[in-house]
Amino acid sequence: MQVLFPQTLNELQTLLAEISQGRIMAGGTDLLVKLRQSGQQIPAVFCLEQLSELQQTGWQEDEFCIGAAVTQQQLLDNAVIQTEYCGLYQALNELASPPIRHAATLVGNICSASPAADSLPPLVAMDAKVDIVGPAGCRVISVSDFVCGPGQNCLQPGEYVSGVRLPRLPQGTISVYHKVGKRKALAIAVTSLAAVYRTAADGALQKIRLAWGSVGPTVVTAPEVEAYLLGKPLSEVDLRQAGAMASAAVSPIDDVRASEQYRRSLAGNLLLKLVATPTAAKGE
């Protein structure tokens, strides 16, 4: 297997065209494990770590942009992620383990498209988008549209994700991530919940977005639950009712980690974490 280090986006594009069976390696913590497990032989990996155009993070107007080669640890060290995107920060801080986060990238986590991926619920809840580059040009689509099934994304041959865009969250927005795993580190989510919300001065919810992980083939959203909560203050009573709706809305499976029933219960109960765990709003 060749190990190639494109230095520019053009080089990467050329490689993708020339070695169509090659794979992009944006950290390798997932790809190399899968190759080892499957015994699959591929002709080449294209490592992004020397591609400086994909190492950038920064604001572009009202979006915070993260290049595909930016590692999770770099994001954890980033003041914007720490203060503006707490839910994403929490998800990354619980993802796998420190040495994994030193190599793994956010975009890699997105592209692997695991139903249990820690980063996906917060990204979906904040309406994040990915930049896709391909032979036919560039397109921007939402993370929720990008992930189209367990382990499946909507990349076409020759396309790659160059980065992710996080919309600027209005002042006063709270974003949180709650995960249940089988242990506190190196844990694959049994069920997770990301919430992004904002309340008015009287406490009523002005905006709420909820996204669950590990309870469906991809991240699950439930507009009816959001609609139910909108306009109400965050109260235990309403969250219990919303939880019952959420339990019904999700479509989990049984696997070696947990049963469908347990995951349904968690999908509902995790909503109560919004009042059980103190959180700080952005700007507070």
Binding site: V3, T29, A96, P99, I100
Partner: protein, 157 residues
């Protein structure tokens, strides 16, 4: 490919398959058995090395990724004054039992103490959570890291 990198302060150049796992390169080609392998899939941290000062899993790294970089393995740690203090703390505080996790644990500790020079116990637990130990229950490892942090702080002032 012709691979050239710095290993424990020494320049190394050798011919190697670019997709060779770094853990195999170290153990089999360079006779550096101190870097252990225990799961081969990033779940245990036994193969931890420092690449440009940052902890990385050598079972999930390919040889070509080391080109031009600087690697510290446990064999090179004793020559590093900070690492020697961490090693001594592990010995004194009983942080070593079977010793198979120890090299990775020490290198992860070096990374941790660079970033968080005065950690609390919970931070140490968080930062070492990628390194499994089956013998100690971690308590004496945390003791050793806390003690090393104090010694290092004393040394720097």
């Amino acid at each position: 490919m012709n691979l050239s990198f710095t290993l424990n302060g020494q320049q190394v150049a050798l011919e190697v398959a670019p997709d060779r796992r770094v853990v195999d390169l170290l153990r089999e080609d360079l006779n550096m058995g101190g870097t252990k392998e225990c799961c081969g899939s990033g779940e245990c941290g036994a193969c931890t090395i420092l690449v440009d000062g940052q902890s990385q899993l050598s079972c999930l790294m390919l040889a070509a990724q080391l080109q031009g970089r600087s690697v510290l393995t446990i064999e090179g740690a004793a020559a590093d004054a900070d690492a020697a203090i961490v090693q001594q703390a592990f010995v004194e505080h009983g942080a070593v039992q079977c010793g198979f996790c120890t090299p990775g644990m020490i290198l992860a500790t070096l990374d941790l103490l660079q970033r968080i020079p005065q950690p609390n116990r919970e931070q140490v637990r968080h930062e070492l959570s990628g390194n499994l130990c089956r013998c100690t229950g971690y308590q004496k490892i945390i003791d050793a890291v806390m003690a090393a942090a104090v010694s290092l702080k004393g040394g720097q002032r």
